[in-house]
């Protein structure tokens, strides 16, 4: 009999925590999960899933408006609109279904559930609403919260909201200023523009979507600009006064006044009330410091997901959970942060993995090979009615190692997994070229892009 209540206790039931708990239980560990508010975490409740639900409606709206392009008669584009209350109801149904699914999965795997906020008493004990739970190992998966930058002053009666509130809008604001041109900012810009808002995006860097190769992010930006979104790149936001955002651009102060301001500059690890410092857990700024196996400085305590500040993505957290549980069970498999796919849900979608061309050149110098394939030459894209995308692949010119793949096209978020598998298996450009890609698909353009990189030319383009 163990001296502890549980072999493993997981704190936080987001995509990192709940999957780690299930994995731990499947490995034969007596496991408990502690959650204070949302089963499914940010992702299911106020992140990935609700955003995509809203974006789906925006996409359907667009398709319906353009129905005539597909030879459909009887739809008056001017008559089509979105019922925000009904949309919120649909969103809630989707979220509720998935949250219940998470609870069911935990139950089905005999994971004990404790509801409440955990606070460390010592390295083997947490207090959950006054009740102590002991465990041999802890996995901290408490996630993150929206980062409200202290360097942006707020004056007067501001109208700042975060992504959480933005997901609950029951009406479409006439205008919105979005501070931050990362994935969250750009997806909301796309969504609200489609739903009818006048959108201005203020980004400090000189390009949006930093993980995407600029060649592709610029294509997406151009398209969004054509749809009416205003991008202010290199804009340094200084303050928000009432409904006006003041920013510095090209050496002079400029301003934008809008009905709503969305703060989307990023997220920050959330360890509030955890008393992690109290038991001596080491931090790097706000993030819990970990090693390649997710171990904190305290050997029986691990930290996965947003709380370790590495890569704040649900699938990263889930994989980190596997790494942590495997390590606890004696299987050493170090986390690899170089092959994490990113998906951006615009229309068409963007998906990428690995290095950008500039990053690859920095590391490998001139020995890299680049391949591009434009969707204009892809049959399925033409069928889908969207040929504006492009695939770009970056391979090492010596061995053909896949260094980076950046996709912009119809449902490419469902396609990047192929490259994730190829990279995990260390397949080279040659293996991808040898694999048979089905026709007619958007996916077949991937094989072509690799041919363009490795052989110097694709088959179906000149």
């Amino acid at each position: 009999m163990s001296a502890y209540d549980y072999d493993i206790a997981v704190i936080g039931a987001g995509p990192g925590g709940y999957e780690a708990a299930i994995k731990a239980a499947q490995m034969g560990k007596k496991t408990c999960i502690i959650e204070s508010a949302y089963f499914g975490g940010t992702c299911l409740n106020v992140g990935c899933i609700p955003t995509k639900t809203l974006i789906k409606t925006a996409n359907v709206l667009e398709e319906v408006k353009n129905a005539s392009q597909f030879a459909i008669r009887g739809v008056e584009a001017g008559q089509v609109s979105v019922d925000m209350k009904a949309l919120q109801a649909r969103k809630s149904t989707v979220v509720k279904t998935l949250v219940n699914g998470v609870k069911g999965l935990l139950r089905g795997n005999q994971v004990a559930v404790a509801e409440g906020r955990a606070s460390f008493v010592d390295t083997h004990t947490v207090s959950v609403d006054g009740k102590n739970i002991t465990a041999e190992f802890f996995i901290i998966a408490t996630g993150s919260s929206v980062f409200m930058p202290p360097f942006i002053a707020r004056e007067g009666d501001t109208n700042i909201i975060t992504s959480t509130e933005a997901l609950n809008l029951d009406h479409i604001p006439d205008s919105i200023a979005i501070i931050g041109g990362g994935v969250i900012g750009v997806e909301f810009a796309y969504l609200l523009n489609r739903l009818g808002s006048k959108v201005t995006v203020l980004e400090l860097m000189d390009h949006i979507l930093p993980m995407v190769d600029p060649e592709i992010s610029e294509m997406a930006q151009t398209r969004m600009e054509r749809d009416g979104i205003t991008f202010r790149l290199g804009a340094k936001v200084g303050r928000v006064k009432d409904h006006t955002v003041f920013y510095e651009l090209d050496g002079k102060e400029q301003e934008v006044t809008s009905q709503v301001v969305l703060m989307a500059v990023g997220r920050t690890p959330d360890t509030e009330g955890l008393n992690a410092e109290g038991i001596g857990i080491a931090f790097d700024r706000a993030a819990i410091r970990i090693d390649g196996y997710m171990r904190t400085n305290i050997p029986n305590i691990y930290a996965i997901g947003d709380v370790n500040g590495k890569v704040m993505l649900a699938h990263t957290a889930s994989h980190e959970g596997m790494v942590a549980v495997n390590h606890i069970c004696g299987h050493k498999e170090e986390m690899n942060y170089e092959r994490i796919p990113s998906c951006i849900y615009l229309e068409p979608e963007i998906a990428c993995i690995g290095l950008t061309e500039a990053q690859a050149r920095e590391r490998f110098g001139g020995s890299i090979k680049i391949g591009r394939f434009h969707m204009a030459a892809n049959g399925k894209s033409l069928v889908e009615g969207d040929t504006g995308g492009m695939f770009k692949v970056i391979v090492d010119g010596n061995l053909g190692e896949i260094l980076g793949v950046h996709l912009y096209g119809k449902h490419v978020t469902d396609m990047i997994g192929e490259i994730s598998v190829a990279m995990a298996a260390e397949a080279t450009a040659e293996e991808v070229i040898r694999a048979i890609h089905p026709h007619p698909t958007v996916n077949e353009a991937l094989g072509e892009a690799f041919m363009a990189a490795w052989n110097g030319r694709a088959i179906n383009s000149l």
């Binding site: 010596n398 061995l399 053909g400 190692e401 298996a425 260390e426 397949a427 080279t428 040659e430 293996e431």
Partner: protein
């Protein structure tokens, strides 16, 4: 087809061999069973016979030169054949010299058959097998009878699980995939594993692990020294005899000698002369145990241990019993200089009958030396230090005085030298040094 002759591996620890003498010159006819050449191992000289008839086409190694085992040293074939074609085939076909290894384990008394036959396809060795042979020092010929498990008796690289990228990288970097520890799913070899295998040494180990500064192969001089000393220490029962010598008179005497003559006389020179005299007085120390026979030598050949670049070298002053102090001083100075420069001829560091190891200049109080076989004794000389010693004064009473004292320790092989003999030798040696004029009398 002309055949390449390689330096045979004549013992488990042989990394290289020295060619002592060619019995055939280029153009000479060669008959099976004739002696082709002789090689020196660290132990002995060995004649090597031809295994087939032919003509000596080309000689690649001069007499006195060294070659790594399994590397080509000559080509034998039919008259008029092109030896370079055979060499090219050897280099190209044999990815590893081990493939060609048909070296024969030498038996001490029978001449060795020359490893004549070289054919790349002779032994189907995978990289893994080759690596194993290299690492374990396995005689490749002993594998000739083995049945491989792969296609046509070989094992292919496909039997090793590796990612496509790892495979390509391994090929490019010439890494044996079979020897790489895989870290991927089910032990699959991944790119990082090949990179790690290609890297010289880990820069930093994980905390708690032993960190490596550098690694170097245990071979050559280092290995010869190591094996000789290990052999000596584990076969000859060592016993040790220590005494302290008052060097007051010795130092004064050396000073006088150096003031009087032109040839600089070192401490070691006087020690050599003193040892020579003592050995002449006790010939039982100047002896060897060889093949069940105890040999006492007339020649007093004294080796002087010198620290060299790769380890210890012991130049030998021969027939000290016939030489004057000046001659010994001159000869040993030349030998030591050659030894330090690595230019000693084999005859100049072999054939000793006794060794002096003088670490006095390095300030050691006392140390124990291991006998350099086939010698039976070695003298360890330590630093001179001022000590309080009890002497008998003119009135016949005890008195404590400060004297420069030097420890010497004699190590002898107890199989042929008993304690009494060793003790008398040390006492006599001490008497010589404390009354140094007697060294030259």
């Amino acid at each position: 087809m002309a055949e390449v002759i390689i330096m045979p591996k004549l013992g488990f620890n042989m990394d290289e061999g020295q060619l002592v003498k060619w019995h055939k010159q280029a153009g000479d006819g060669v008959k099976k069973g004739e002696v082709l050449f002789e090689i020196n191992t660290d132990k002995t000289t060995m004649p090597v016979e031809a295994t087939e008839d032919g003509v000596m086409l080309k000689i690649l190694l001069n007499e006195g030169e060294f070659a790594e085992v399994f590397t080509p040293i000559a080509v034998v074939g039919g008259a008029g054949e092109n030896p370079d074609a055979a060499l090219a085939a050897f280099d190209g076909g044999a990815a590893s010299p081990d493939t060609a290894a048909k070296a024969v384990e030498a038996s001490r008394d029978a001449p060795v058959s020359a490893p004549l036959k070289v054919d790349a396809g002779e032994l189907k060795l995978t990289p893994k097998a080759k690596k194993l042979i290299r690492d374990e020092g396995i005689d490749a010929v002993s594998l000739a009878g083995l049945q491989g498990t792969g296609y046509q008796g070989g094992i292919t690289a496909r039997d090793i699980k590796a990612s496509p990228l790892a495979r390509k990288l391994a090929e490019q970097k010439e890494i044996d995939l079979g020897a790489v520890q895989g870290s991927g799913a089910d032990g699959k070899v991944m790119k990082a594993d090949v990179e790690a295998a290609a890297a010289p040494a880990p820069e930093a180990a994980a905390p708690g692990e032993t960190r490596i500064l550098s690694t170097a192969p245990y071979k050559g001089v280092r290995k010869v020294i190591g094996e000789r000393l290990a052999h000596s220490k584990f076969t000859a029962p060592h016993i040790y005899f220590t005494d302290s010598i008052d060097t007051t008179a010795f130092s004064a005497f050396r000073r006088q000698l150096n003031e009087a003559g032109t040839q600089k006389i070192g401490v070691s020179d006087l020690l050599t002369m003193a040892a020579g005299k003592a050995l002449a007085a006790f010939p039982g120390i100047n002896a060897s145990l060889v093949d069940e026979r105890i040999i006492q030598y007339k020649s007093i050949n004294i080796g002087i241990a010198v620290a060299g670049e790769n380890g210890l070298i012991v130049p030998v002053v021969k027939n000290v019993q016939e030489k004057t102090l000046t001659m010994v001083a001159e000869e040993s100075r030349e030998l030591v200089e050659c030894a330090k420069a690595g230019r000693l001829a084999p005859g100049e560091f072999s054939g000793g009958t006794f060794t002096i190891s003088n670490l006095g200049m390095f300030g050691i109080e006392n140390f124990t030396a291991i006998i350099n076989p086939p010698e039976s004794a070695i003298l360890a000389v330590s630093a001179v230090r001022k000590k309080a010693v009890v002497v008998t004064n003119d009135n016949g009473g005890d008195e404590i005085v400060i004297r420069p004292m030097m420890n010497v320790q004699l190590t002898v092989d107890h199989r042929l030298i008993d304690g009494l003999l060793a003790a008398r030798f040390v006492a006599y040696f001490k008497e010589l040094l404390e009354n140094p004029l007697r060294i030259l009398m």
